[in-house]
């Protein structure tokens, strides 16, 4: 079971003195700081932030019970609220009223991340009025109505602040409304309704998350997933608003995975009182003393812990049978790379259609990144664009799994795996190449090498031949050289290699080398002439090869051909000292006599 827990509390929680009769605990969502105020501050205030740097300890005079205490950003100013109508700033400063709005407000919610405040107005409380703060100004956004399950008569406050939360999901601010089930409204279970709150324009109901149960719930946002904790069952559900549900109406979502509890957590006993042999105490999860804050914070004031909630991806792999959906899910997660690669490895034990789906999903994301990268490069090359803001370099997320990742982590070990039929190995490799081609991604030659290696290992030369015939394995010099090396076991590889070099059109030197090595000296000479490279080739190389054949007439022909070239280029048939052809001149004289040498023409 333990490998099924896909949510966990972070390993290093923020620890503070737990709440008691002498110690009051406050949490500031903006700075994510916990304030432990002992005896109204007289015996000390300890502030713990998300990291050690933001921890502060100080004392202040006990001037009555503290209702709320916060720092400004950067811990510059401390504000303490002791009565319902006054806030004290320990450092004396003057305040100025910048702007005011007059609205009847039931309650408010503030989202520090986006600096948006949400006010509940009207008698029922379900007309929400957002304001956005930006660089010292406050702007009114368009108000919107939350649809209540039942409209009470007579009207009374029906929307509680506990059922509303704000959070950024996939970069967009959403208002989450926990809509409890109601017997009268014919709804059998609770749901979370998301309202998309754009910077400009009207707020719209965007998603409905089906909880399929009733009771007390709390919401978190982790890695763009909506996490719904259910207290009575002590389990949590996760929803991904980008996952399309084929069998649901648009934008209605079912949980991605079956409900599971958060991974059991043990509190390590620390401090001087700890006895080494004493085992850590299990922590009570889903405790009624837990407070949940956005986006991913869970605080247990009674135990003195602040945790960040985290998603553990490996358990999701076995919980989600539909591999296509699993890939869609994983590709949107932050630390997904190794899990995705393990899914790929796992899928190579499955059936081809699934392998194909997994590869296609992967390459879709890969392609999008490559395109973004390319258009960025083009934009950079064409200079900074006028007016519009400079284009940002695309961020390479972990979801971008490139060919080298696949080669290193999945394919090379897969081709070595014992007990897998070579037919299946080749089918999987070809499926990956097909998928890359489908997304018009240039295939790296090491993948072709892997295909060739596998085919050669199993003597499937005719298959290889057919792949090359249809240019499935794209031309490259390394590939052509690899083919040349296969010639001794598979003679047609020679022809395939020469064809490839020819198509590359940048490999004329290589073609000459291949032909010379085959003692096809005349062929090499005719070829280099046909591509116009005759004037620049090394005469010595050709003469060496011609002499090696032992064919005297061939040597004569090649020698004379270069003499003619010299005549044409330099007006003299002789070789330059730099060409190092002296021994061949001597050899020629020995064979055919001095008089056979071409004489400088006297035109």
């Amino acid at each position: 079971m333990s490998e099924e827990h896909y949510l966990e509390l972070c390993e290093n929680p923020v620890q503070f003195e737990h709440a008691s009769s002498v110690n009051n605990v406050f949490f500031d969502e903006a700075n994510k700081q916990v304030f432990a105020v002992r005896s109204g501050g007289a015996t000390g205030v300890v502030v713990k932030g998300p990291d050690d740097k933001s921890s502060v300890a100080f004392r202040m005079d006990d001037k009555g019970e503290v209702k709320c205490i916060k720092f400004s950003i950067g811990n510059k100013i401390l504000a303490v609220q002791r009565t319902s109508k006054s806030v004290v700033f320990p450092d004396k400063r003057s305040l100025k009223l910048l702007k005011s709005q007059s609205i009847n407000v039931n309650w408010y919610q503030y989202c520090p991340e986006t600096a948006v405040i949400l006010l509940s107005t009207t008698v029922q409380g379900n007309i929400l009025q957002p304001f956005a703060f930006r660089s010292g100004t406050m702007s009114k956004m368009s108000k919107f109505e939350i649809e209540l399950p039942v409209v009470p008569k007579p009207a009374k406050l029906s929307l509680s602040e506990r059922d509303i939360a704000m959070a950024t999901i996939y970069g967009q601010l959403h208002v989450m409304y926990l809509k409890h089930h109601s017997r009268t409204a014919n709804s059998t279970s609770a749901e979370v309704v998301l309202y998309h709150l754009p910077r400009e324009g009207a707020c719209k109901k965007s998603h409905v998350l089906k909880l399929n149960t009733t009771g007390k719930f709390a919401l978190n946002i982790v890695d763009n997933l909506v996490v719904v904790h259910h207290q009575s069952s002590q389990t949590s559900l996760i929803f991904d608003i980008k996952l399309k549900e084929p069998d649901c109406a648009v934008n209605t979502h079912q949980p991605v995975l079956p409900a599971r509890s958060i991974h059991p957590y043990r509190i390590p006993l620390s401090g001087p009182a700890v006895v080494p042999s004493q085992p850590p105490v299990p922590c009570q999860l889903y405790s009624s003393s837990w407070s949940v804050f956005q986006p991913d914070i869970i605080i247990s004031a009674s135990e003195g812990y602040l945790w960040y909630l985290q998603v553990k991806l490996p358990p999701t792999v076995n919980l989600l049978q539909d591999k296509g959906k699993l890939m869609d899910f994983l590709l949107r997660r932050r630390d997904c790379k190794m899990v995705i690669l393990s899914v790929c490895s796992q899928s190579t034990r499955g059936v081809l259609p699934v392998v194909a789906t997994v590869f296609d999903k992967l390459n879709q994301v890969y392609k999008e990144y490559l395109e973004a990268e390319q258009s960025y490069t083009v934009a950079m090359e064409s200079g900074p664009s006028r007016g519009s803001a400079a284009q940002k370099r695309p961020v390479r997320t972990q979801a971008v799994i490139d060919q080298s990742d696949m080669y290193t982590h999945v394919l090379s070990s897969f081709t070595e795996r014992k007990g897998v039929s070579h037919k299946f190995i080749i089918a999987v490799l070809m499926e990956y190449i097909r998928s890359l081609n489908q997304f018009q991604i240039t295939v790296q030659h090491y993948l072709y090498e892997l295909v060739i290696k596998t085919l050669v290992q199993h003597n499937l030369f005719y298959m290889l031949h057919q792949f090359l015939q249809y240019h499935v394995l794209s031309d490259s010099k390394p590939l052509a050289c690899l083919l040349l090396s296969l010639e001794s076991t598979y003679p047609p590889a020679h022809q395939l290699s020469l064809d490839m070099l020819k198509r590359l059109s940048t490999a004329n030197d290589e073609i000459v080398e291949v032909l010379l090595s085959k003692q096809q000296v005349l062929g090499a000479l005719r070829f280099i002439r046909s591509v116009g490279g005759h004037d620049n080739v090394s005469a010595r190389k050709f003469l060496d090869a011609a002499r090696q054949t032992g064919d005297q007439m061939l040597f004569y022909t090649v020698f004379r051909s270069f003499q003619q070239r010299n005549q044409r280029l330099r007006g003299s048939p002789g070789f330059n000292p730099g060409e190092h052809c002296e021994e061949h001149v001597v050899h020629f004289k020995q064979l055919f006599g001095e008089q056979a040498l071409m004489k400088p023409s006297t035109v």
Binding site: A356, A427, M430, R434, H465, H471, D499, L501, I511
Partner: protein
């Protein structure tokens, strides 16, 4: 007035075809036992024995000159005999009758007309290849002679030979045999990489879900795209498919092609797939699920396979399954349900891609030349000379004389290993050019009577640059 010189519409035909094994009747009086098959069967027994004896004697006699290379053909004034020993001591002899080559000369003195035989017009290579093809085709469907001998002795072998060659010889059309028979090549369908990969993916997925399938071959428009069989087996299977099976099923495939397919519609998928071998109608309760069996080579012998040929529109897939498995209705229905819709979709994909590529490459890339290309490495052949090849006729667009020149050049090429180029000016003002580069041969026929040698050479270079720019062809 005496009847003028008469040249009839003569065609070559088969005079006789026989198979014998000299070790089966070594003693006198037992000669008949040597004969395993004789066509025409109505020939009198003694004549059969005489003819076989003559062949045996010639082969024995010529062996003394070259023990490693026995005689391949015997030229006589009237005809030619072709010998082939496919397996130890088994000889196949074919004697074609070339009526075209006899020109009857009327005799003024009232004597019977003398007949002139122009036997040198016949190419050994072409008919030698035909004999070898006969054997390969027998072997494809029956395995080796030796196999039949092991299974049931001479009796079974003669039965098998009778059964196979009785029908096969009727389909031999010696008049349309030419250089292409010498090559025995495979025409490949030109296809873009992506569509090819889709076909690969299709084949792999079908082989995975119907794991009985051992090998698959994929053809479109009677041209090969993919072969899971080894080259030599594919070569003869391809010959069978394109000259025998497909032509027999060439009823209009296009029916319904214009109606848009909606393969995404769930449930009963619409498709045009059907079996070319095996059951003609799956719904028929009487349907038989018997498929032709073929023999293909494995590393160290032969294996027997069911041959399922399934076609949707112009796309044909051959699935081969071990003959030891009995094929059932369920399997065929499963195959039909799985392959039918996918193959239909693929066929229309290929058709679409092909049309697009055609449009891109444009008409100027269409060959203006008459040529035959063959690559010994992958057996790829391409001909713009042959308009259509069906079971009965092979129409060529050039005069037989020119085809003969092509054959002659081919013989010259076969004699040496070196790359060569031969340019011939034919009597009919045509230029015929033969090029051999590495393992490739190219034959071009140019109708430019006023062109000189240099111009012809340039013209062929131009052809190579446009038609064969993606292969290494030495100028």
């Amino acid at each position: 007035m005496a009847s003028g010189m008469q040249e009839k519409q003569y065609t070559p035909s088969l005079l006789s075809f026989f198979i014998y094994n000299p070790t089966f009747g070594p003693r006198e009086g037992e000669e008949e036992k040597k004969i395993l098959f004789y066509h025409p069967s109505e020939v009198e027994k003694n004549e059969k024995i005489r003819n076989v004896g003559l062949c045996e004697a010639i082969v024995q006699f010529t062996r003394t000159f070259c023990p490693t290379k026995p005689a391949k053909s015997l030229h006589t004034q009237k005809n030619r005999q072709f010998f082939f020993e496919p397996e130890d001591n088994f000889w196949i002899v074919m004697v074609p009758w070339f009526e075209t080559q006899c020109i009857e000369k009327p005799n003024k003195d009232g004597k019977p007309p003398t007949i002139e035989y122009q036997e040198e017009e016949i190419l050994d290579t072409v008919y030698g290849a035909v004999v070898r093809q006969c054997y390969s085709m027998y072997k494809l469907f029956n395995g080796t002679f030796g196999r039949a001998m092991e299974a049931g002795g001479v009796e079974l072998l003669t039965q098998k030979l009778e059964k196979f060659f009785y029908r096969y010889l009727q389909t031999l059309h010696l008049q349309s045999c030419d250089l292409l028979d010498v090559f025995g090549g495979i025409s490949f369908f030109p296809l873009d990489k992506m569509t090819y990969l889709k076909i690969q993916s299709f084949v792999n997925k079908v082989e995975e879900s119907l794991s009985l399938i051992k090998y698959t071959a994929f053809l479109y428009n009677d041209q090969l795209i993919w072969s899971g069989l080894e080259q030599d087996d594919m070569r003869i299977l391809y010959k069978y498919l394109t000259t025998s099976l497909f032509p027999r099923h060439s009823e209009p495939e296009l029916a319904g092609r214009d109606s848009p397919l909606r393969p995404e519609v769930a449930g009963n998928l619409l498709h045009y797939g059907r079996f070319l071998t095996g059951p003609t109608n799956l719904k028929d309760p009487e349907a038989k699920f018997r498929f032709p069996k073929i023999f293909v080579s494995t590393g160290d012998g032969y294996e027997e396979l069911h041959l399922i040929v399934y076609k949707a529109m112009s796309a044909a897939a051959c699935f081969m399954i071990s003959a030891s498995v009995e094929l059932t209705r369920e399997f065929c229905e499963q195959l039909d349900g799985l392959v039918g819709p996918q193959l239909t979709l693929l066929a229309s994909d290929i058709c679409e891609q092909f049309t697009i590529n055609r449009r891109i490459s444009g008409p100027e890339k269409e060959p203006q030349f008459k040529f035959i290309y063959f690559n010994h490495m992958n057996l790829a052949e391409k001909s713009t000379i042959h308009m259509r090849k069906t079971a009965s006729v092979c129409l060529t667009s050039v005069h037989p004389d020119l085809m003969k020149i092509l054959g002659d050049i081919n013989c010259d090429f076969a004699r040496v290993d070196e790359d060569e180029e031969i340019i011939v000016k034919a009597m009919t003002d045509y230029w015929v050019v033969g090029k051999k580069s590495d393992q490739r041969e190219l034959y071009v026929i140019l109708n430019q009577k006023n062109a000189n040698l240099i111009e012809v050479n340039e013209e062929v270079k131009r052809l190579c640059a446009t038609q064969f720019n993606n292969i290494f062809f030495l100028d």
